[in-house]
Subunit: 217 residues, 2 copies
């Protein structure tokens, strides 16, 4: 299976690429293909230093990361969603994963959803109707993705309207470190998942913690 | 410290009363004082069966549960908040804890906040401006409150605008079983906390689990 990461050279994208590369063929997308290739070289070097025996990472444009992939992860900030998706096509037969959280930092972190109710529902409106969209990975901090010497012992709620796509996404989640996927229901539930991230950032801030995640139990 | 539970004979209120009675003087409030007294007799009997050496539980009207208490817990469903609070007074010098979650069961569980943004902010508007309101205990299932043979190993986000009141509420949380309080920031963050409960109910439903709770980590 080929996984393309749009925004794959960003903080979260880079960490995701390193966690996924030993498991899948990963295409790291960027607006700047050279930057993507350089990021992959650095990531491969880091993975080798950590003892990874084989990994598959290739740098490309964001469009190639979409076109070549079976599953596309949109590792981009909410403010870039509309602009980025307007410039990309060939999503029709893809599963698209949104880890996007619409939020702002004011006195505290605030959930600021778009009119659709959530980033995932906005993405659904922007992409072709055949595209199967799931939200996943919303609550895992960039630092944790990158800390390859640490197991990821978090719960990951996954939302989506297509059961087969959701099962595939949950299978991907469950292969990464010790992440545990939970079916959170239809894509409409993504608003509640996306609201968790500003809550976790507030918990971190007010309790002097770092990179707070969750477990359901 | 005296803790009054408005709605103390409901599912969650009864469990809270049993967990709190060995630690504090608890006044169980109900619209029906006789029902409250009967509930306390049953709870005391249950607590003795579980080996509790001493506990303080008294049945009363909801108004007495407010008037006699230092801290008032509103253990009522969201749909009863306005009607219940309209019939009660003497909240001026109290700390009020809202575990209330505005939600509906449709195809899935949906977070349906009032115009104020959250149940806690609605309660703030309804009560005197001197009342110090915190949200807490939002995500703990009634069955878990009542399962006295089980430790409660959950994280409890606490929101509030008065730092001293929030510290007192967090101290109460931390005395109950193995609950761990986390400062989640000002009362405005309560919308994100209240949205967690329908998410947890969806997680339970779609993964065939029961009484799902959370831990921050």
């Amino acid at each position: 299976m080929k996984i393309g990461i749009v925004g794959g050279t960003g903080d979260i994208g880079e960490g995701m690429a390193m966690r996924l590369a030993p498991l899948y063929d990963v295409i790291v997308g960027s607006r700047d293909e050279v930057k993507a290739q350089h990021s992959c070289e650095c990531n491969i070097s880091t993975l080798k230093d950590c003892g990874a025996s084989c990994c598959s990472l290739a740098g490309a444009t964001n469009q190639e990361a979409v076109s070549c992939a079976d599953v596309v992860i949109l590792a981009i900030p909410f403010k870039n969603v509309v602009g980025t998706l307007e410039g990309l096509d060939c999503f029709e037969d893809k599963i698209v994963i949104s880890p996007v959280n619409p939020m702002e930092k004011r006195d505290h972190f605030v959930f600021v959803p778009p009119a659709e109710g959530s980033a995932a529902l906005l993405i659904k409106r922007l992409l072709p109707k055949e595209t199967r969209i799931c939200s996943a990975f919303n609550t895992i901090a960039a630092n944790k993705w990158k800390a390859l010497d640490e197991e990821l012992t978090y719960s990951v709620p996954v939302c989506g309207d297509d059961d087969e796509a959701k099962r595939e996404v949950m299978a991907i989640v469950n292969k990464i470190s010790k992440l545990q996927a939970f079916d959170a229901g239809p894509l409409a539930v993504s608003s509640m998942v996306e609201a968790l991230t500003p809550l976790l950032l507030n918990i971190a801030r007010y309790n002097k913690m770092r990179d707070v995640g969750i477990q359901f139990r």
